[in-house]
Amino acid sequence: MNWLTQIVALSEVNLRTLPARKGSVAAAMFGIAGVVAVLVGVLSIAQGFRHAMTVSGNDDTAVVMRSGADNEMMSGLSGESARIIADAEGIARGPAGPMASSELFVIIAVPLRSTGKDANVPLRGVVPATFDVRRDVQIEEGRTFHWGRNEVIVGAGARREFVGLDLGSKIPVGQQEWTVVGIFGANGGLSESEIWTDAAVLQPAYRRGNSYQAVYARLESPDLFQNFKDRLTTDPKLNVKVIRQTEYYAEQSTVIVNLITGLGRLIAALMGLGAVLGALNTMYSAVASRTREIATLRALGFKSSPILLSVLAEGAALALIGGAIGAGLAYAAFDGFRAATMNWQSFSQVAFAFSVTPTLLAQGIVYACLIGLVGAVPPAIRAVRLPIAQALREP
C-alpha cells in the first residue's frame, strides 16, 4: 500500500469509529465552538462601533475646529470665524449658498433604556446648510423642525436607546420644553445617536451668544482638502485646525475600540488556552483509548506519518466544524444586536449595532483550526512513538 492509500484507509477507519467516540468528539467540538463564538462576539462589538463611526464620514467633507481642540466639545468658534470659514474657496455651493454647516454641540442628560439612568445624549444645533452637508440624514417619521421654534428631531438610534424621545414627547432644556416633531435616520451612522435642533434656538438656551463649535464644510472634491486646509490654517484672522471628517471619526473611536479589542483579545487568549487544554485532554483520551488500535495498524504495516496525519486531520476537521458552528452561533446571536455606550472622547453616547463581518468569521475559524492542531499534535506523536509490542499490551 502506498502512502496515499494508507491515509485514505486510515481516514475511513477514523470516520467509522466516530460513533463509538461520540462523547469526547462532541466535547472537543463544543469547546472550540464556544471559543470562536465568544471571540467573534466580543470583537463584533468593536467592529460595530467602528462601523458606526466610519459610515458617518465623507472624504469630501472637512471638519474645522478651534486649533488644539481634539473634539467638538472642546472646540469653539465665534460667529465671525464661522462666516469667514464658510466663505473660503473650495467649498461646494448649493442653491442656499456655500455648503458649510456651522454647528453647536452640547450634551443633555436623558435616561438610557437599558439602565434607566441618565446618560449624555448629544444635542446638535444646526443651520439650513447642514442638510446639504450631511446628505445621509433622512426624515423617517414626522417632519423636520421649524426654524426658530423650540422643536427638535431625534435620531433613530437615540430614540431606540433612550427614554422619552418618541414623537410628540417633550424634552426639558433649561427652563423650557422642546417638542420632538420628527425621527431621522442616517444609514446607521453617528448622527442617529443625536438630537438636532435649530442652532439659533440652541445658542441662547445654552448662553453661547453668537458662537459655534465646528464647521463641517463639503468641498467640491476630496482632492481640494489640502488646499482648503492650508488656506484656513494660514489665515491670520482664524485660529483653527482642519481635519477630514473620516479621520476625525476614526480618531474619536480609538479609546473605545482599544478597550473592547483589548478585552476581547485577552478573553479569547485565555479561552483559547482553556480550549487547547480541553482539546489536549480529549485527544489524549481519544488516542489513549485507541493505542491498541493504532499499534495494530502499525503491526499491519501502516507507516507512522500517515497515522500521524490522519490523527491531525481529524483534529483539524473537528476544529473546523466546531469553529464553523461557533461562528454561526456568534452571527445569529450578535450580528445586528443594538446597544449604546459612552464614547469617552466625545463624552457622549453612541448608539450602534454589533456587526459580525466576514473577516471576523474567517479570523474565528482560523483560530479554531490552530487550537485543534495544537491540541492534536502531542497525543498523535505519542501514539506513533510507543513501541508496538508494548502498545499492544495496553488495556
Binding site: G68, D70, T115, E161, I267, N281, T341, M342
Partner: protein, 385 residues
Amino acid sequence: MTLGRLVLANLMRRKVRTLLTVLCIVVAFVLFGYLSAIRQALSQGVDVADADRLVVRHKVSLIQPLPGSYEAEIEQLPGVAQVAHASWFGGIYQKPSNFFAQAAVQPEDWLSIYPEYLLSDEEKDAWFRTRTGAVVGRATAERFGWKVGDRIPIQATAWTHSGGNRLWEFDLLGIYDGAKPGTDTSWFFFHYDYFDEARDFGRGIVGWYVVRIENPREAAAVAKRIDQTFANSPAETKAETEGAFLQSFADQIGNIGAIVIAILSAVFFTILLVAGNTMAQSVRERIGELAVLKAIGFNDGQVVGLVLAEACTIAGIGGLLGLGVAWFVISLGDPTSGALPVFFFPTADVLVGVGLALALGFVTGSFPALQAGRLRIADALRRLG
C-alpha cells in the same frame, strides 16, 4: 499505605491528564480574576466613594461650568462642613490617545476633602508653594515614566493662555498613592489660581464642586438644600452623593459592560464544567479498583473520603495557582492601554475565588464518591471483566 499517599499515587497515575486538568482550572481562575478586575474597573470606583461627599454640577450637563461665587454660598448652608472645586482641563500629553484626567484645583482644599490621596509632607509643601506645581497619581506617573521634578508639557484643547498659546508647562512636585486599592490614581492636579489668571477667557468659572457634609445620613437633605439655593438662577445645580455621581458614569457604559461580564462568566463556568467532567470521569474509570479497596476492608466513609480528597486536591491546587497568577498579571496593569484607570483584583473576590475552588472540588468529587460509597462489591468486580 496512608490515605494521603494513596491520593497522591492516584493523581500521579495519569500524569498528563492530571496536569492538563490542573492547568485547565488555573486558566479558569485567571479568567475569574480578570472578570473581577473588569467588573471593578467598569464600576468606576463606586464602592470606594465616600458617603459624606456630595458632587455639585450644572443641572443641564457636566460640561457646563458653574460660577466660582457658589463656593461661599454653599459653605454657608447648614450641614455643610467643607467645599472644594475642580475644573476640567482636558489637555493632551504628546498625543490624544495618551488620555488621562487633568483638573485645576485649590491644593489645600482638595487634599483635605480627598484624604485618600497620600502625599508626603515635603511634596505637599512644595506643591502648595509653587504656582506652576502639579501632582499626579501613581498609575499615570508609572504609565509615562514621570519622576518628581519633571516638567510636564500639556497642550490645551480649549484653555489657551497669554493670547492664544496652547502649551502649558507644569512642574511635577509629587506623586500620590491611594489609601485604598480602589482609589483612582490616574488624575493630574494643578493650581486653580495659576490656571484662572493665565487663561484667555472664562475667568472665575469652575467645573464642579465637591462638598463634605457633617452627617452622611443627611446627604439627600443637604443636596436638596444646595439645589434649592440656586433654583431659577442662570446656572442651576444638581447635587448628589459621590457614589451616585460615579454610578451615573458607570451606567453610561450601558449594556456593553454587562455583555462582556456575562460572556466572561459563562466562559468561566464552562471551563469549570469541562474540568469537573474530566475529574469525575477519572473516578468513574476506577470503580473496579474502589471495589477492590472495599473488598480488602476499607469502609464506605473511607472510600468516599479518598475520592473527595483527590478532587479537592486538584481543584485546590488549580484554583490557588490560578488566583495567584491572576493577581500577578492584574497587578501589571490593565490590558486596554489606559482605558481602565482603576484596575486591581479586589480582596473580597479573591476569597470568593478560593470558595469557588473548594466548591468545585466538592461538587465534582461528591457524585462519583457517592456512587463509589453505594457500590456493591460483587457488582463492581464483575464490571472489571
